[in-house]
């Protein structure tokens, strides 16, 4: 009876909770013992800047960014979600290096770096004036701690592949002095890109936390303490995150950001989000639908920024399935899909046709490749005939010698874009005598089906956000054919050779021909039907100045955003 009372008390408690802030209940547990003191220290450190902060001119104002999904937060495991990753990189935390507009590495937390002659050592020299928001200095200790944490699978960091070639564990990192840290690894073509994505964590706060508990530690989602340009103020789960300018941000990096406040808002229905943008309730609508972009462009006071983004959208064909093991069939599927029309219809023309997994923003992207497999239903039909698929019973769908019709099931999770593309492909492939059956699945089931050992699927829509460092070995290498990501399951020695070589050529000029060859081989094998890399569109209120958005992300330039005094809302 006592137990059931505690259940009932939740209702009573909740009614009183409207008054007080949540989190002060007895159930807050660790959140209470960790967050309370941590945030108090942040407050007192920030209070020391009162009066010293720059005011006037561009300084001041609040900006609201609206998105459809809440972000996970600042823990390493949260880096798997694009919104969280960007906040870790650009807003609340800092990375060692940044990329400039042309994607060349730029100093950030690290002032300089040095790669050893044999490309097995990387030494970072850190800034000495970067403070955690609670007043502690950011040191080499933090960097080493972060590295050791994320290479431990228990941290649930989603991109451990970044550090695959590093020497295992403590051998890989060496704290030279308080502000110098050195890493050891096997030679690799791309050394710095990993450090552009990985945000450094506070050792003094999390050093004592066992790595396996890190993913459930309140630091990530309840009270992150960072060192980036904006400090965490509060979070209402499912509703918003609020950040405040960090006055202690180093002068050399631009000092305190212009904006006083930055709010990340969650609005799950895109139509509502558009309405908020139009009524000026939000200043930025992240990742607009194409037709919403068209609407917003016609509004006064709004601009739509569209920029290429390193994401690729493709259909993975499971070549373990007999019908799809024939490269002629896979090729016919690609040839029979009018991808230009799909781009026109689904993305309003704002996408780049792809024929490989190299996105347009990558330096190895080959624009001429896009014309390689143009829409050609005639050729698709003859390929299918050659492969033995003929419409023997004249029902419009081809059959093989055994009379089995060419029916391919295409799975995807609930998503408007995928649904649209699936429907269009169905219409188009019917034209060449293939019956495509798009099937929506719940996301977890979909992920299980394409990654589990059974690979119980025929075709699947997949979107990858790639970053600037490409390593397709887990997709196409024979060694990885049983790994999570080998959807297509193709094994090709030539492809393996390219993939192995590519990781070892640091010089881009030298690597480019190999990239070309690799992409051509993919073109021949057609493990996927690559569709496109869509532009990302963000609707922005024109009162917000100096917003630049490029492949680095939506928040890459948030430090420079400013609002003229007359445009600031009176809070």
């Amino acid at each position: 009876m006592r137990r059931s009372l505690s259940l009932l008390s939740l209702v009573a408690l909740s009614i009183t909770a409207c008054v007080g802030e949540s989190g002060d209940g007895p159930g807050a547990g660790l959140g209470d013992t960790f967050c309370g003191p941590a945030l108090a220290r942040v407050d007192s450190f920030m209070a020391t800047f009162a009066g010293e902060e720059p005011t006037g001119g561009r300084y001041g104002g609040m900006v609201v960014v609206g998105t459809v999904a809440d972000m996970h937060g600042m823990s390493p495991r949260a880096a798997g979600d694009v919104g969280s990753a960007q906040h870790q990189q650009f807003v609340n935390l800092m990375t060692l290096i940044e990329a400039d507009e042309s994607f060349d590495p730029m100093p950030y937390l690290a002032t300089s770096w040095e790669v050893s002659e044999d490309r097995t050592e990387l030494t970072f020299r850190l800034r000495e004036d970067v403070y955690w928001h609670d007043g502690e200095l950011t040191t080499a200790q933090d960097v080493a701690f972060t590295y050791l944490t994320v290479i431990n699978p228990a941290s649930e960091y989603p991109n451990p592949g970044f550090f695959q070639h590093y020497l295992p564990g403590e051998e890989g990192v060496e704290v030279v002095d308080s502000f110098t840290v050195k890493f050891h690894f096997q030679p690799h073509a791309d050394i710095l890109e990993s450090w552009r994505g990985l945000a450094i964590l506070p050792h003094h706060l999390l050093g004592d936390v066992p790595t396996e508990e890190l993913s459930t530690h309140p630091y990530g989602a309840v009270c992150p303490v960072g060192n980036g340009p904006f400090r965490f103020v509060s979070r209402a789960p499912g509703e918003s995150w609020t950040f405040q300018a960090n006055p202690a941000f180093p002068e050399a990096l631009g000092g305190r950001p212009y904006l006083d406040r930055y709010v990340y808002r969650v609005i799950p229905t895109q139509t509502t989000l558009l309405a908020e943008l139009i009524t000026k309730g939000v200043d930025v609508y992240v990742q607009m639908l194409p037709n919403h972009a068209a609407t917003a462009r016609e509004e006064t006071g709004l601009t739509v920024l569209s920029f290429p983004y390193p994401a690729i959208f493709f259909v993975a064909w499971n070549s373990r399935v007999p019908e799809l093991s024939d490269v002629r069939v896979r090729r016919a599927l690609t040839l029979g899909t009018n991808r230009r029309q799909i781009i026109e219809g689904v993305q309003g023309g704002e996408a780049v046709l792809l024929n490989s997994g190299v996105p347009p923003v990558h330096w190895a992207f080959d624009p001429s490749l896009g014309d390689s497999l143009p829409y050609d239903p005639e050729q698709a039909r003859s390929l299918l005939i050659a492969a033995g698929w003929v419409d023997r019973d004249e029902d419009g769908i081809r059959e093989n010698l055994d009379g089995e019709p060419l029916v391919i099931e295409l799975i995807y999770n609930q998503n408007r874009e995928r649904q649209q593309v699936g429907e269009i492909m169905r219409v188009q492939l019917r034209d060449i005598g293939v019956e495509l059956r798009p099937r929506v699945m719940e996301f977890g089931a979909y992920m299980s089906q394409i990654t589990s050992e059974e690979r119980d699927f025929e075709g699947a829509f997949v979107t990858f956000e790639t970053g600037f460092r490409l390593d397709d070995r887990d997709l196409f290498h024979s060694d990885a054919v049983d790994g999570l990501w080998a959807f297509a399951g193709i094994m090709d020695p030539e492809l393996d050779r390219y993939l192995d070589t590519l990781q070892l050529i640091p010089d881009r000029v030298e690597a480019l021909p190999v990239w070309r060859a690799y992409q051509n081989r993919l073109l021949q094998l057609q493990p996927y039907t690559f569709l496109y890399s869509a532009l990302r569109r963000d609707g922005v209120n024109e009162r917000l100045q100096d917003v630049v958005m490029d492949p680095r992300g939506d928040w890459a330039t948030i430090r420079q955003w400013w609002i003229a005094p007359q445009d600031r809302k009176t809070p």
Binding site: G238, I267, A275
Partner: protein, 330 residues
Amino acid sequence: MLSFSLRRTLLAIPLLLGVATLVFFVLSLAPGDAASIYLRPGMTPETLEHIRRSMGLDDPLLIRYGRWLLAFLQGDFGYSHFYQMPVRDRILAALPNTLILASGALFFAFLIGILVGVLQAVKEGSFLDSVLSGVTLFFYSMPSFWLALMLILFFSLSAMKLWNWPFSFPVSGIQSPGADLLAPWDQFRDRIHHLVLPTLTLTLILAGGVARYVRTSMLDVIRQDYIRTARAKGLPETRVIMKHGLRNGLIPVVTLFGVYFPFLLSGTVLIEYVFAWPGMGQLMVESILRKDLPVVLAGTFLFGGMVVLGNLLADLLYGVVDPRIRQSDG
């Protein structure tokens, strides 16, 4: 009477546990691995294994069930893997929002519904009655999300752009960002502003049902002899209706309140979705889609609890409004 209600309520607790158990197994046995939701390109099987472990998915189903049940009975609702916080904290953040929205809407729905229903009953068969019947049935027949979208179009976008109204209502959220910097009074006003459209949507839809119910009930009452008695006494008509009629007409409406009360938590699902209202409905939908099992279980239990509470409340209210029942337990 009261003891009967209490006993029924206590009996409901195992029932609710049963419901939660059902949900546990349905969610656990549904195809697909809950941990695979957190899979990201480039992730290794070891990491996936760790995610699975930290979600408690590496144990056999029955052990997981036992562990959940034990913790649940002790008032520990578990940890939300998606929100990275204890379920209790997450629910406590969502619950007040929903309660505010839904209780406001319920209040207005009953207020408007009762007034309209009474008016219709008094003017039975008149043109006004027909018009109001049509209007209430219209809203009653309307999908809530649809009405919500229409209201956004009318009262926010069109109001501002086409009709140049001096103000438009905010279309999402419970308060403006940065409202915490406002003076308390302005903060309050801001909140009320945000409440307008979602409350209006909910109210319109609920009020239709209430009005229909009240009309029927009042029509029944108005024909009763005691209404004639009240008139024969020389009471003014308004007093006859509002005192003698309404008091009796409301007795069956109390049952309706018992039915609508659980609405406080669950009835707002679609409306919360459209208006980005960070409440229980939105939380539940997202948690179901993300297979955030502990949140779904706790939410289910809470929803069920509201149904039970609603029944209890209806019983108690019945006693308050109907002396025949109040006295029957001696």
